[in-house]
């Protein structure tokens, strides 16, 4: 058995500061890994080869890791990833991971609601949201942001309505497509989770 020493170090400190140990474990659990891997498998790496300095916005990315690791492992030419999450403690942990991994030049983080305007001075080519069930539909989130038409949105949601924080679940892949407001759907799929519920993914452009 092997645990990444950086994860171990970050968790050790976090637990000492009364972060919820179960949450930390859940963030790297099999379900989380599987869903993140599903997204990373469909990262448009071939298309990204033709882009200058690909930049990514990560909505509601929570601690940011392990997804950020997985993204960079799949495609190390990613220029920057910004994790935007309103949970200050989650962003603090993201910052610690980032420092420990010496990824400060690539990874940034903002503690704010994704509904609020975001600094759009950079040409963001990919927006990732693996927690759509926690927030309003994409059209509502991006109405005050000027992403270009070519920007690719990679979204995941699920039908786990019983979870208290899940304010915007969907019950099917088609419903998720419809609610995404994306007109150019590049990919969509359904993933059966181990707990019997379904996770949905939609990739597309406006």
């Amino acid at each position: 058995m092997q645990i990444d020493p950086i994860y171990w170090k970050v968790w050790w400190q976090a637990i000492a500061e009364e972060y919820n140990a179960k949450d930390l474990l859940y963030s790297v659990g099999p379900d989380q890994q599987e869903c993140k891997k599903w997204l990373v498998d469909y990262l448009p790496t071939r298309d990204m080869d033709g882009w200058d300095n690909p930049k990514i916005h990560l909505y509601g990315g929570w601690y940011g890791y392990p997804l950020i690791d997985m993204l960079l492992q799949k495609y190390n030419r990613i220029h920057s990833i910004i994790n935007i999450d309103m949970d200050q403690k989650a962003i603090d942990l993201c910052r610690r991971y980032t420092h420990a991994k010496e990824l400060n030049k690539k990874v940034d983080y903002k503690c704010q609601s994704v509904i609020d305007p975001i600094d759009m001075s950079e040409d963001v080519r990919i927006v990732i949201n693996t927690s759509s069930e926690h927030m309003p539909d994409l059209p509502e989130i991006i109405k005050n942001k000027n992403y270009k038409d070519k920007c690719i949105f990679m979204l995941q949601s699920n039908n786990m309505e019983y979870v208290e924080d899940h304010i915007n679940c969907v019950s099917s892949e088609q419903e998720f497509i419809d609610k995404s407001g994306l007109s150019d759907i590049l990919y969509s799929g359904t993933h059966q989770m181990n707990n019997g519920y379904e996770r949905y993914m939609v990739i597309g452009r406006r």
């Binding site: 498998d41 448009p44 790496t45 033709g50 990919y187």
Partner: protein, 221 residues
């Protein structure tokens, strides 16, 4: 826009040409002319323009390069592809002097091509066809070495056998069925059927055959 396909020999019958034309009509909104370069035009839809095959003693696969000479700009489609959604945008990937291709798991794939002013590729090939036909098994590697290549998006064209290139990227053999997993992405514009009706490899199992088109019939019928 010029859309071209090639039918040489008896691997495909005229129904493949006619159904490809039908799929183009459904999925291209701008004006286009549909051409078929062939040695046998019987039963081909009368609205398809026929270019009669001229025997230049080449291996059949290399006649695709001749299209660069015949048409300054164009879109080529293999007879076995299925067009699922609109493909109006595919020519826009192509810059002058370039050929647009699919980046497959191991290089380029020419099942779908668009080009603009690339007759030099034919001329170079015809400068010493024996040499190029010895070096290159097909035109994919010839183009890789000799052409200025643009790429289609990986979400424009997927393979029934390999899935989305760069995402799935591999054939998956299913021992229980004795067949390979057959990928299907309804939102994507084109599905290519590479390895269609290629020899059955005992170790790898069956690749793609007519059964692989099951469920796709509504795209042309």
């Amino acid at each position: 826009m010029n859309i071209v396909t090639v039918k040489l020999g008896d691997k495909f019958d005229s129904s493949f040409v006619n159904r490809l034309y039908e799929m183009c009509k459904r999925n291209i909104t701008q004006d286009f002319k549909f051409f078929c370069y062939t040695d046998d035009f019987k039963e081909i839809d009368p609205y398809i323009h026929i270019i009669e095959h001229e025997d230049m003693l080449l291996k059949p696969v290399f006649y695709k390069l001749y299209l660069f000479y015949l048409f300054q700009t164009g879109m080529y489609l293999d007879l076995d592809v299925v067009i699922q959604n609109n493909i109006d945008h595919l020519p826009f990937y192509t810059k002058k002097g370039c050929v647009s291709l699919i980046r497959s798991q191991k290089g380029y794939n020419s099942s779908v091509m668009t080009w603009d002013s690339t007759d030099h590729l034919w001329e170079k090939f015809m400068g010493d066809p024996e040499k190029y036909m010895t070096i290159h098994k097909g035109i994919d590697t010839y183009l890789e070495v000799n052409a200025q290549v643009c790429h289609f998006s990986q979400f424009d064209i997927y393979s029934r056998l390999y899935g989305i290139y760069g995402c799935d990227d591999k054939p998956i053999y299913i021992p229980e069925t004795g067949r390979h997993k057959e990928y299907y992405y309804p939102n994507m514009p084109i599905c290519i059927f590479n390895s269609y009706n290629k020899t059955i490899d005992v170790k790898k199992g069956h690749m793609l055959d007519d059964k692989s088109y099951k469920g796709f019939e509504h795209y042309w019928s």
